[in-house]
């Protein structure tokens, strides 16, 4: 049976992308798999009684060492902010390439806590900062120092001790450019070093909370139970910074989605499925219910999605356990078709992610294909014709061409970069100033403009001839030739409409990171949790690959 890849016109809609969930392809899971046989070590832990100071953690294999350097600082409560405009954080981190020398640590002590206004060097790979969840951190310290474990209900509600507010890499603020390290086999996957930083930060938060509790009451204090640690992750507050990334990296976006779609296609094409694989799938669906029921949010928008998801996953589970027979041929295809007919987008994508769980032999080769050499696809084939271009646009952007951008509601918003923080923002074109400095993220509108221009031509020209008078459309001409080869490289939706929900774009990216429990705080930012339930560093050598569904 040959199953077609799913239609980009359906999958690349913002609402669908905003329904994606973590899977075996997610970067934090592929990071754990890649680094499970590396030697983990805590090389330095020089904190004072209050938990302020410096710590270094590392992963080592043969001659390669990656070291996380942590700087924990005292800040006042009124200085603590998750917004990107903050200038102080409870802790700041950088991942150093190799073993840091004393002078490296001294240099970084001056720069890392400053974050965006500090300068890093090519020896540093990633940069981040994090704030304590004040109520949780203090509760855990107080409990441990009194010799008792913390209240699990309270921990469940939050899920972490610290949350990061940004994780930077790839040349930002002087960090190493990707090209310097791209040939290293262990980081042959997107965002692997960012994942390493977050994972090691998680361990730092446990060590710090134990250290502070011990110093508060040396005689009575106990350590945080490793089972509780395991069920804590690292929070993350994410704003609009992530949104332009997926528009600005079309071939990378394609590769992420294409790998997921290819995995699904191959699983649907399996004629027979082993009992152990079908049981693993069923167990994951069953266990995952807890992930949904423990998903806390105040967002009405998300609550509705969660309720619908829970309803549909239960309905699916009933079908799976009471009516479905895995002895049938092409069982996963049948299940998928049932999902499409009977459940919401959120549930379809949720179960699609779980379908990947039993099939390492399908998923693992795809993990290695999720990066992209974007430079290779940058040149515009200017010897091709406007006839070719018109045909590509009509074939690949057919839904976008139906949007009427003369209507105010379809072009109500615009994307810009704020002067104070150099971060992306999203505002009302008709009520706010600055739309003349709009970023080139309104791809649908510009493609439509290009289409209209092409239709008005009297004869077919070469692209080179067309570009002479249409330089303003050069950026979308480049994209159209990219989407011709990479079907999932483009969001097939309007990114500037009145009803555009920017967090759908964030959610897509975060799902590929492996984030859980999306908690929107508005339509422009959300909180998530990473590594909740993940093995601790001392468990890495032998851990349960389905840990996500057992937290």
């Amino acid at each position: 049976m040959n199953i077609k890849l799913r239609d980009p016109n359906i999958i690349m809609k913002l609402s669908r992308l905003g329904s994606f969930h973590q899977s075996k392809l997610s970067f934090l899971r592929s990071f754990l798999n890649e680094f499970k046989d590396w030697d983990y070590n805590r090389d330095l832990f020089d904190l004072n009684k209050k938990g302020y100071g410096t710590a270094v953690y590392s992963f080592k294999k043969k001659d390669r060492v990656y070291s996380l350097i942590c700087f924990a600082n005292k800040i006042n409560d009124h200085e603590r902010s998750d917004r990107v405009i903050a200038t102080k954080w409870d802790a700041a981190f950088t991942l150093h390439d190799g073993i840091p020398k004393k002078k490296d640590i001294e240099r970084l002590r001056n720069e890392v806590p400053k974050q965006e206004v500090g300068r890093l060097s090519y020896k540093e790979l990633t940069l981040s900062r994090a704030n304590k969840s004040v109520r949780i951190f203090e509760h855990v310290v107080q409990s441990l120092s009194n010799g008792v474990q913390p209240n699990l209900n309270l921990l469940d509600k939050v899920g972490y001790l610290y949350r990061t507010t940004a994780v930077y890499g790839s040349g930002k603020f002087g960090l190493a450019d990707r090209f310097r390290i791209k040939n290293r086999e262990e980081i042959n996957g997107p965002f692997r070093l960012e994942m390493m930083l977050v994972y090691l930060v998680r361990q730092f938060t446990f060590d710090q909370v134990n250290h502070v509790a011990k110093n508060r009451n040396p005689k009575k204090a106990i350590k945080l139970d490793p089972h509780i640690c395991k069920n804590l992750g690292i929070g993350n507050s994410t704003g609009l910074g992530m949104a332009p990334f997926i528009v600005n990296h079309p071939t990378l976006l394609n590769n992420w989605i294409f790998c997921r779609e290819t995995a699904l296609k191959k699983i649907r094409e399996l004629k027979k499925v082993d009992k152990k694989d079908s049981n693993l799938f069923k167990n994951c669906v069953r266990n995952s219910i807890k992930n949904i029921t423990s998903w806390n949010t105040d967002s009405e928008y998300q609550l509705q999605k969660i309720n619908l998801l829970l309803h549909d996953v239960r309905k699916f589970l009933t079908f799976l356990e009471k009516k479905f027979d895995f002895e049938k041929y092409y069982p996963f295809n049948e299940l998928y078709l049932w999902l499409e007919k009977e459940t919401c987008d959120e549930c379809i994508e949720y179960i699609v992610s779980i379908m990947l769980e039993p099939f390492d032999e399908i998923v693992q080769p795809l993990v290695k294909k999720m990066s992209s050499d974007e430079e290779k696809h940058f040149n515009i084939p200017t010897d091709r014709t406007t006839k070719d271009l018109l045909s590509i646009i009509e074939k690949k952007y057919s839904n976008i061409l139906t949007i009427n951008f003369k209507k105010k509601e379809n072009q109500k918003k615009f994307w810009f970069i704020s002067k104070n923080k150099e971060e992306p923002r999203f505002a009302d074109r008709f009520e706010e100033q600055g739309s003349e400095l709009e970023q080139p993220l309104a791809i649908a509108r510009d493609i439509k403009k290009l289409h209209e221009k092409l239709l008005s031509l009297r004869k077919s020209l070469t692209i080179n001839e067309f570009l002479i008078d249409n330089s303003d459309l050069r950026h979308v001409i480049r994209r159209a030739f990219i989407v011709e080869k990479f079907p999932y490289s483009e969001i097939q939706d309007n990114t500037i409409g009145e009803n555009t929900i920017p967090i759908d774009m964030l959610r897509l990216k975060l799902s590929f990171f492996g984030a859980l429990k999306f908690d929107p705080k508005s339509d422009k930012w959300l909180r998530i949790c990473m590594f909740q339930g993940a093995p601790l560093p001392n468990e890495l050598k032998n851990f349960d690959d389905q840990w996500v569904y057992k937290s």
């Binding site: 002087g174 010897d383 570009l467």
Partner: protein
């Protein structure tokens, strides 16, 4: 030290701010990244050129011919570079192209380097007493790299070089003969037993 990623982002934004379209700004940014990667002063010259652009007018040449003359003003290296890159498949047949007066010729360089990769041929860029040889966007060879870059190239000649060997047939044969010393002389027995395909091709 600034990373190449920072160099690319800032060059793109500055190019948009000076008035180029986003698509052209992307091309400029890639070019400046390339210059800096090769150790050539891209940021310095882009900065100077953009400051000058506010005060002075530069000519554009949309369609490039075999021989091209600018009017009163020097040619804008960016618009010329974009035209060259876009028209390279057509220009390939000219073999030799001449221009006069290109401002900040260093900013023209990345477009030539990328053009060399697109057509798979080396490109020789000569102006005044200087030359640059572009090798498929892999490296750039020049007699000028350590000197101050001229602000204007007056008489420019661009040659698209045919792919040909840089050595004589005799030199090749000598080296090949030496390489043969790594081969094993085949006996009749080896001919029969050591080969894979080829023994039963006429069955």
């Amino acid at each position: 030290m600034k990373s190449l990623s920072e160099i690319e982002t800032t060059s793109k934004r500055a190019s948009k701010a000076i008035g180029f379209s986003w698509g052209v700004s992307e091309e400029v940014a890639k070019g400046i990244r390339l210059l800096e990667l090769f150790g050539l002063p891209g940021i310095k010259n882009l900065n100077q050129y953009y400051m000058l652009m506010n005060k002075k007018k530069f000519d554009n040449l949309s369609v490039i011919n075999k021989n091209n003359k600018s009017n009163k003003s020097a040619l804008c290296p960016i618009n010329l570079g974009i035209s060259f890159l876009d028209q390279i498949k057509k220009l390939e047949s000219f073999k030799k192209i001449t221009f006069s007066n290109i401002a900040y010729p260093i900013l023209f360089i990345p477009f030539l380097s990328r053009s060399s990769e697109i057509i798979g041929k080396k490109i020789l860029f000569k102006f005044d007493k200087n030359f640059f040889l572009f090798n498929f966007d892999v490296n750039i060879f020049s007699n000028l790299s350590k000197k101050k870059f001229p602000l204007i190239a007056k008489k420019i000649e661009i040659s698209i070089l045919d792919n040909k060997d840089s050595f004589t047939e005799r030199e090749w044969k000598n080296l090949y003969k030496l390489s043969e010393n790594t081969f094993v002389e085949e006996t009749e027995s080896l001919k029969k037993s050591a080969a894979g395909a080829g023994l039963t091709d006429n069955d």
